[in-house]
């Protein structure tokens, strides 16, 4: 655990203080008759925190906690901000983190929902009751409250991350904003829906409503498990092939370079994934080569060996073509030995796709680094010397940045 900077520490203490103040302010709204309601929603909110679903490929997570918390605010009045405040303070997964992270999390939720409560009840929103469940009158205030929640929550978290990692607040704030905002479009109607279900049907309605969400979580988890198994199996096999080539860990490093370069070039997450897989699997077609041949093709390829290599690349592309998710990686594998400027072409395919160009540059970089006993700077200089010739200058430029980043 790195030491926290002074500014971050002051910020954390300030927010925790603000959270406690917010909770103190809502104590007058406490109603003893609602105690079981508070507890029930607290329990559901906490379970939702624990059962958060992280969405594959989206770098985001899905939780019904915010829907529940917002619904509680509409149902039980301002005191309900204690529900996310307390549920957020409890550790939601093992191992436990530092105490202050839990306190801060609870406090920032209490403050954010406090802002939302302030907005909701000051623009004329009313506490839901069985007698007057008037949907129409609540939509406007609830939407504003949701928006306030989104802004306050986003800003509080972004400030903490910006202070911790010393990057621009604006950048952090807008990074997550798109997903959060689209999530909000669902949160507001759904929070209203939960509130109505609860008023009309009580706990049972709530339970049945949330059941599919919680069930989905388990399914998503097994999905992610298999997806990871897929990646791990590919890596395990190819790492073995690397060891056989006498270059342990090479594919892993090329994979790291290639994924980082793909991200920096603005390729989608999915596409960057495919480029990464292609980087890992680029030599899958070489398994049939006898060791003698293999070492020669790596060290000093003759013209005949070049044919052998080409056959290996084509065979590898064929293997990948039969894999559903990775079909698009086939041309990257087939073409990653082609030179960018078109001299020395072996296959007539044109243009060379970006994925193949990325892998070409990263592979060359890694080969040179290995030849130069790990000297990154010298290897990079050799890569840059080929920029515009064998290698795509745009990719080389980004690779230089990535290499510098990784060095730090």
């Amino acid at each position: 655990m790195t030491e926290l900077s002074l500014r971050l520490r002051i910020y954390l203490v300030a927010i925790i203080g603000l959270g406690i103040a917010a909770l103190a302010l809502v104590i007058p709204f406490f109603e003893l008759s609602r105690l079981s309601d508070y507890l029930a929603f607290f329990l559901i909110s906490y379970v939702a925190n624990v059962l958060t679903v992280s969405l594959p490929n989206l770098n985001a997570s899905l939780s019904v906690a915010s829907h529940i918390n917002l619904a509680a605010l509409l149902l039980f009045g301002p005191f309900a901000i204690a529900i996310p405040g307390c549920a957020g303070t409890l550790p939601d997964r093992l191992p436990f983190r530092k105490l202050y992270t839990h306190l801060f999390n609870g406090a920032q939720l209490a403050v954010s929902y406090g802002v939302a409560a302030l907005v909701y009840y000051s623009v004329g929103g009313q506490v839901f009751t069985i007698a007057s469940p008037n949907l129409g009158a609540s939509i406007g205030p609830a939407a504003l409250a949701g928006l306030a929640l989104f802004l306050a929550n986003g800003a509080l978290l972004a400030a903490a991350i910006a202070l911790d990692e010393k990057i621009s607040f604006i950048r952090v704030f807008f990074q997550g904003a798109r997903w959060e905002l689209s999530n909000l479009l669902i949160t507001i109607p759904f929070a209203l829906f939960i509130a109505y279900i609860y008023v009309g049907l009580g706990y049972w309605g709530l339970l049945i409503l949330l059941l599919p969400f919680f069930a989905s979580r388990f399914i998503f988890q097994t999905y992610i498990e298999i997806k990871n198994t897929y990646t791990e199996t590919v890596k395990a096999l190819m790492n073995t092939v690397d060891r056989k080539f006498g270059q342990p860990g090479r594919s892993q490093r090329i994979f790291e370079y290639a994924t980082a370069v793909a991200h920096r070039l603005g390729l989608s997450d999915e596409e960057a994934d495919i480029v990464g897989y292609a980087a890992y699997l680029r030599h899958i077609g070489f398994l049939g080569l006898e060791n003698r041949q293999l070492h020669r093709t790596v060290e000093r390829p003759s013209l005949r060996d070049r044919e052998v290599i080409q056959d290996g690349l084509l065979a590898g592309a064929k293997v990948v073509e039969t894999m559903d998710f990775l079909r698009r990686a086939a041309p990257y594998i087939r073409l990653h030995h082609e030179s960018w400027d078109g001299t020395d072409r072996i296959l007539p395919e044109k243009p060379i796709p970006m994925g193949a160009r990325i892998i070409a540059a990263c592979e060359f970089m890694e080969e040179q680094k290995y030849r130069l006993n790990g000297n990154r700077q010298a290897a990079l200089a050799l890569v840059q010397a080929r920029s515009g010739g064998d290698l795509d200058p745009q990719v080389v430029r980004v690779l230089a940045v990535v290499v510098k980043d990784l060095e730090r």
Binding site: F190, E225, T233
Partner: protein, 428 residues
């Protein structure tokens, strides 16, 4: 008889469906039942088809929930109209969902049959028995009346599916067994309970509430589909990766694939559950993974191998387990791979374990592996016939093979067309 093609089937079903649709529509309009709400609910039934999943030979759809809700809320005729809408959805999405003709027939028959059964049972058995039920609030009678009808719907659907699939060559025992699979049960609990919720929600919140209530259901089915698809994708990836290992040695082409097919059949006859079968399948695909570390020069060598070369070859089971060690999910199958060359009398490698200390799965893989090797050509001998192979294995039971597994294999080869079905990976 030539099996009817998808296109021909579709045309006839579609014509019938349009006639039924027109009849129901006219009936509903004449009786003043066709409202905007009904239209929206029916459209939801149509769109929900997008979330259909195919699971171990059963087709599961979230549409049932909406069809039943429409039936409870608006009555039998409108319920059937929603059903027809959902069947239109089937045709609309059949390309995106990659339905095979049996899937399509199954979906059509099970939806029609189950809806019919639900209407009949509700109208003549459950409804009259419980008397008038207040649909707008929650009560025990409401719960029972809805739950009963929903159960009839899904049981009929499952029964029809089993009948259809079994009559077209599916494994009856397996199809029935699927009903007890945890994922299957979870899907039906979620679906059934959500349906029970939708009815009072409609009466309290209107059609907007009902549509919102479908949202969690969509998320759930989406998750199920992602999961099932990922499983297929992983299996496919294993086949491809293993295929490229087999390319090292032309004599083993398709070997792992056939071994996997045989292992699963043996596992099924030994009464393995679906999860255990799945792991066994992965293990049988990966059993020769360790060969990657061997120089193909040794694998290709004609003539006898030196002692050193034999040592290298004998290292492949433990190497395979070693390679896969970083894959957390597969930790259970590592010993199965490491010991697939043990012999029953304790003279195998790498550890010379006797029969009772070798994992059952490793013994299955060992027998299936040997079976496939014997019925295939090798550089040093021609393939044996199936009869010869089985006789050879019986001669070596208790010294090399587990007698129980040899017994199962000798039963399996009795099934008609065994060789072709096994090679084409059809159920035996």
């Amino acid at each position: 008889m030539k099996p009817p093609t998808l296109e021909r089937l579709s045309v006839w079903f579609l014509i019938g469906l349009i006639l039924l649709f027109l009849y129901l529509l006219i009936q509903c309009i004449l009786k003043g039942l066709f409202t905007l709400d009904l239209f929206l609910v029916a459209m939801a039934a149509l769109l929900l088809r997008f979330f259909d999943v195919s699971f171990l030979g059963h087709l599961i759809s979230p549409c049932g929930g909406v069809i039943l809700a429409a039936f409870f809320i608006f009555g039998p005729l409108p319920g059937l109209l929603a059903m027809v809408f959902s069947l239109f959805g089937l045709f609309l999405f059949r390309k995106t969902l990659k339905f095979s003709p049996p899937d399509l027939t199954d979906a059509l028959v099970q939806t029609l049959g189950a809806s019919g059964a639900a209407v009949l049972v509700h109208q003549y058995v459950i409804g009259p028995a419980l008397g008038p039920v207040d649909l707008s609030t929650y009560s025990l009678t409401l719960f029972l009346s809805l739950a009963g009808t929903i159960a009839v719907y899904y049981l009929t659907a499952a029964l029809l599916t089993i009948l259809i699939r079994a009559s077209s060559g599916g494994d009856l025992k397996r199809l029935v067994g699927t009903l007890a699979h945890p994922l299957y049960l979870a899907v039906f609990c979620v679906l059934g309970l959500s349906t029970i919720l939708l009815v009072p929600v409609y009466f309290q919140l209107g059609v907007a509430g009902l549509l919102l209530g479908l949202l969690p259901l969509c998320v759930f089915f989406y998750a199920v589909r992602l999961y099932l698809r990922m499983r297929d994708v992983y299996r496919q990836a294993l086949r491809a990766l293993v295929g490229s290992i087999e390319a090292m040695d032309p004599y083993t082409h398709g070997h792992s694939d056939r071994v996997a097919g045989l292992c699963i059949e043996i596992g099924r006859r030994l009464g393995f559950g679906e999860n255990r079968l799945r792991l066994l399948e992965y293990a049988s695909y990966l059993h020769d993974m360790g060969k990657v570390t061997i120089d193909p020069a040794i694998l290709h060598k004609k003539g006898s191998l030196t002692e050193l070369e034999w040592t290298v070859i004998r290292s492949h089971p433990s190497e395979g387990a070693e390679i896969l060690k970083p894959v957390g999910f597969l930790h259970k199958i590592l010993p199965w791979i490491a010991h697939h060359h043990e012999k029953a009398d304790g003279t195998g490698y790498p550890e010379a374990l006797p029969l009772e200390r070798t994992p059952l799965e490793a013994r299955i893989i060992s027998a299936a592996d040997a079976f496939d090797a014997m019925v295939s050509d090798r550089p040093y001998r021609a393939a044996l016939s199936i009869k010869e192979t089985v006789r050879e294995m019986q001669r070596n039971q208790n010294t090399q093979f587990d007698a129980r597994i040899v017994g199962i294999i000798s039963q399996l080869v009795e099934s008609p067309d065994f060789f072709r079905r096994w090679r084409e990976r059809l159920p035996l």
